[in-house]
């Protein structure tokens, strides 16, 4: 037998074996059986967790043969694209991803399809995190709650802040990871060495940045923005002595332990300062974690650890949610709605969520956080994240949330940069927020002004 003939016979044998093998050796078993669906288009934000989402979508396409088109959009353009989509005759998107702050506008506007209207048997698996029930809408109460509310959306991403620290730096200084803000302040004396190194960096820029971070202090001190919005009492309580104490503490940490431009620090700056080794500790959203273990972006690979955000001494553990909600617009054909729900069903399976986490995103199922992944060094942030979920809550969950955020974002920043005292800033914010509620016909009022 010649060599050529032998090779041909072997090739034919190999081909015969390949084609006679059972089908599951060719394609991975789908995490959920969703059937053949028409192609769908998703409006998705290019946030730090996007790469993981994209990879998971590719896996969905491989497993099911269904096609998904992603319209990847920077955060700044998301809201407008979503508004234009739902307000038009027919939405170009079958799923739209909404920042939790925007959801009320879309729920109240009647622009979304309740998920059970697409398939009455659809329910979120019990392991799926609901992030303060932001996916439910009770139209009568005008409140996001499953009690009397309809399931309108599910979360592809839930952010809470983590308190990140440089393990090597703290070890060298003989410090333990902080449990309280008082620990953080005490460590400042050892860690603060500007401009070589800052002890703690926190977002302080006007707008969403400072509002979001300060609310950790606010929750920790037991303060609130309004008295009981869930039950219709919109009395403004932002100028309480507890809120003032929270603001004073925030300013002390940001100024005493941070850089001179604390009032201009945005998300990018905070990540940059920690990733370059210029900061020893930082308050950062969990979605930013991948920046610190990527050698292409970080000078501190493997040196950053995570703990829950500290509480004040005697205060409560804070955790402010900042999640995204994926929803199906009303103005898409029923077949598209079914295809969008099929993707949703698949995406929320344990298998898909594990793949999602492995691809660098933050999963949204509690069992993924409790799996063996959490014990590997790559996912060492998971225990802190899961701990934070125990007391995480939504803030500004009312229709006026965007306006209140604008007010707080400005007044808190003015207090931080020293344009006005903390009491004056909170009094001004309280008056302005009350005005917003009054104009919208809410039952409102305010506390007596703080002494300025």
């Amino acid at each position: 037998m010649t060599d050529t003939r032998f090779a041909l016979i072997m090739l034919a044998a190999a081909a015969a074996l390949t084609f006679s093998a059972p089908p599951d050796l060719h394609a991975q078993q789908a995490f959920a059986e969703v059937g053949k669906q028409p192609p769908i288009t998703i409006l998705i934000n290019s946030s730090p967790w996007y790469a993981g989402f994209e990879k998971t979508v590719e896996l969905y396409e491989q497993q099911t043969g269904n096609k998904v088109k992603l319209d990847t959009t920077p955060y700044g353009g998301m809201l407008e694209k979503a508004r234009n989509a739902v307000r038009g005759e027919k939405s170009p998107y079958d799923l739209i991803n909404l920042d939790t702050q925007w959801t009320i506008e879309f729920y109240e506007g009647g622009f979304l399809t309740p998920l059970k209207d697409v398939d009455s048997s659809f329910d979120l698996p019990k392991e799926v995190l609901t992030y303060g029930d932001s996916g439910y809408w009770n139209a009568e109460k005008r409140w996001r709650t499953p009690s009397g509310g309809k399931l309108m959306a599910w979360s592809p991403n839930g952010n809470v802040d983590l308190f990140l620290y440089r393990e090597d730096v703290l070890k060298e200084a003989g410090l333990a990871p902080p449990q309280t803000w008082e620990d953080v302040l005490a460590a400042c004396a050892k860690l603060q060495d500007p401009p070589k190194r800052y002890a703690v960096v926190i977002r302080g820029e006007r707008g969403n940045g400072i509002r979001f971070e300060w609310m950790y202090f606010m929750q920790g001190k037991g303060a609130t923005v309004v008295k009981d919005a869930a039950n219709g009492d919109y009395t403004v309580t932002i100028n309480s002595p507890q809120a003032k104490a929270a603001l004073d503490l925030f300013i002390e940490v940001a100024k005493r332990c941070g850089p001179p431009n604390a009032g201009a620090l945005g998300q990018g700056d905070v990540i940059q300062l920690l990733a370059t080794g210029k900061a020893a500790e930082a308050m950062v959203v969990s979605a930013a974690w991948s920046n610190f273990d990527d050698p292409a972006k970080s000078a501190v690979v493997g040196k950053v650890m995570a703990v829950p955000v500290p509480a004040p001494v005697g205060g409560r553990r804070p955790a402010v949610l900042g999640n995204w909600n994926m929803a199906i617009p009303k103005n898409v054909p029923d077949t598209q709605k079914k295809a969008a729900l099929a993707f949703s069903r698949w995406f929320l399976t344990a298998g898909a969520q594990r793949a999602y986490a492995e691809a660098g995103s933050i999963p949204v199922r509690s069992d993924t956080f409790q799996s063996d992944l959490a014990r590997t060094p790559k996912f060492r942030w998971m225990p802190a994240y899961l701990e934070m979920q125990k007391y995480a809550s939504q803030e500004l969950g009312f229709a006026e949330g965007a306006q209140v955020e604008q007010i707080l974002g400005l007044r808190l920043n003015q207090a931080l940069i020293g344009e006005m005292s903390s009491a004056k800033a909170l009094n001004a914010a309280a008056r302005e927020i009350e005005e917003v509620f009054k104009k919208n016909g809410r039952r409102t009022g305010t506390l007596p002004p703080l002494p300025e």
Binding site: E105, G109, P259, A402, N413, I417
Partner: protein
Amino acid sequence: MLAATAAALNRGFRYWALLPAVLLFVALTLYPTANLLRMSVSTIEFAEGRAHWSFTPAHNVALLASDVVLRPAIVNTAIFVVVAVAAEVFLGLLLALFIARLERGKGLARTVMILPMLVPPVAIGSMWKLMYNYDFGLFNQAFTAIGLEPVNWLGSTSVALAAVILVDIWHWIPFVFLILFAAVEGIPSDVIEAARIDGATTGQIARRIMVPLLKPALAIAFIFRGILAFKTFDEVYLLTSGGPGTSTELVSLHLYKVFFEQNLLGYGALLSLALIAAIASALLMSRRALAGRKRR
């Protein structure tokens, strides 16, 4: 009879010929303006998947009166427009005069000069934000290298607006330069030569001959840049988003926040009209000032 009909048609034709342009004007200008006017006296809310309009002019005026950010935004915009436009026109004129005098390499100099104008605003914002960065920025690295204290460019209320104005000047000098350079090149050389023969110095030629001859071009540069400066948005949005505090809040940025972040469409429309009125008033005043000078 036929001739009379043809004559009548001919007389009317000029009006019929205008019709497409009039229709286009109505569709593209009058309708949006009328819609803006309607919005400015309304509250627009969305429910049951559609927009609900209610006539609430007093509500929008009340929002205007109680808008605490608007006042600093107006002051900042006024400072921004006056300082940026004056600096751009002055520096653009100097550069136009200087480059027009070059014997060689004029084309290259002109090409290099207009480069900043070609850079997309997003790239400008990112680039300057990086240069202004307190810890890693080019400026502070240079300052510390020569023993100076780093400057809190975008984080200090006393410096941030100046930092934003500087970016605007860098971005828009080429625009002014192009207008004025074309005008300088258009000045008859015999006028300059005659002045030189009469013993005029370079400074005198520039002041007494060139600048007066350049007045129409200067007026155009001022007006165009003034209008654009009133509407500046991208630079300030990317660099500071109006902060720290309200130190770099400009009216157009505030307008964006009202429209798109707070979703107050009616009040946003009222603010837009106020901005249009402010620009129109500034234009009218500048035209009157120019006309007054001409009469004198």
